[in-house]
Subunit: 188 residues, 2 copies
DNA sequence: CTAGATTGTCTAGCGCTGCTAGATTCGGAC
DNA sequence: GTCCGAATCTAGCAGCGCTAGACAATCTAG
């Protein structure tokens, strides 16, 4: 079964490329992630990248997908340790903002850079739906008829906080207060 | 006074460049705004752009500044026509989201693209402070001690809604609901 | 063990980008 | 009309995403 060995090595190299892209993006931002640097980092020539991915955007999309999986995991964990519905909401908020702050480039790939990943439809990737599901679960005790809309609003608020914080457009001194107020508003 | 005429013509050409950049960005997105297309549009060679602006980012920053002025104006107008504090809040929200939806590229330059414009400090440009002041005023009746934090949270929420909507990451069907819930939460 | 086919990889290059040095043309002063 | 300085252009650099075609390594068949 020579084919399966080749297959494995090929898949391994694919992961190597995605890992290199993520590392480079996290270290120097997505602008610094070029096909030439990436090729050098994995010690192959540029065309090899295109035998694994359609183009540069597809590489970033794969990094994003990896991010969705990790986000879904930490959100699930945050939920599982919650003592009460308000605590769950607070944990989700802190975990989400923590994730965005710790992996700014990854967050960029997931939610800011233009991608062709679809949201809120049937074709939405499973990890992304799983992450949304955590939000959905956390808001449930505080939602009336408009549960879906509240979930999207909660997520949007956190996304706004995450991106504006990342762009140094909010005063760091009020960081905790902003979270507290958001939670208080939803939990009454 | 030949000099003053030259000065005027020069300033006029500067505005021409900024206008062309904005037009092109709004029509085809910022990726399509290149020095060559811009030069062709204003019927001068590329180096002329650099006698007006340090680089491409400076042009986008000037477009953004123009946007802040317009945003501040429409927000002030929204406030002036409000019948009650909750109505003021609702008008601000609708106006802000309307502005973002109508001028997506402009909004991008103002709040999404990396710029060296400073936020929330003394060096923050006046139009930007004016826009924030409208938010500040609208939230005032509903704020306790943490008025500043609530203002930033309200803005962040709208920013999150604006960007995620633009990226087709929220379900259009819930658009109105999301706004209603946000206003209800803040106004109790 | 060799010959031929297939697969994998690389070199080289296209058209684009932001930006700039140096040549050239233009406008006003004498 | 001549000169000079300022305004403007031509031409080019290095780097970008992406790809065609050359080449090398590997597997298969005899």
């Amino acid at each position: 079964m020579v084919e399966s060995r080749k297959e494995r090595e090929r898949a391994e190299r694919g992961r190597l490329i995605v890992g290199a892209a993520r590392e480079l993006a996290e270290a120097e931002g997505w602008d610094a992630v070029t096909t030439r640097k990436l090729a050098e980092k994995v010690e192959y020539s540029q065309p090899v990248l295109y035998s694994h991915f359609k183009n540069m955007d597809a590489i970033a999309a794969t990094v994003a997908l990896e991010g969705f999986e990790e986000l879904a995991a930490v959100l699930r964990e945050a939920l599982s340790g919650a003592a009460s519905p308000p605590d769950a909401l607070r944990r989700i908020a802190r975990t989400y903002l923590g994730f965005a702050a710790e992996h700014p480039a990854l967050y960029d790939a997931m939610f800011v850079r233009r991608t062709d990943l679809t949201f809120g439809t049937n074709e939405t990737p499973a990890p992304l739906r799983a992450a949304f599901e955590a939000f959905h679960q956390a808001t449930e005790p505080f939602a009336g008829a408009e549960h879906e809309a509240l979930t999207e609003l909660f997520w949007s608020s956190l996304h706004g906080l995450a991106t504006l914080t990342q762009g140094h457009r909010l005063r760091p001194a009020y960081h905790e207060d902003r979270i507290d107020i958001l939670i208080d508003l939803i939990t009454q």
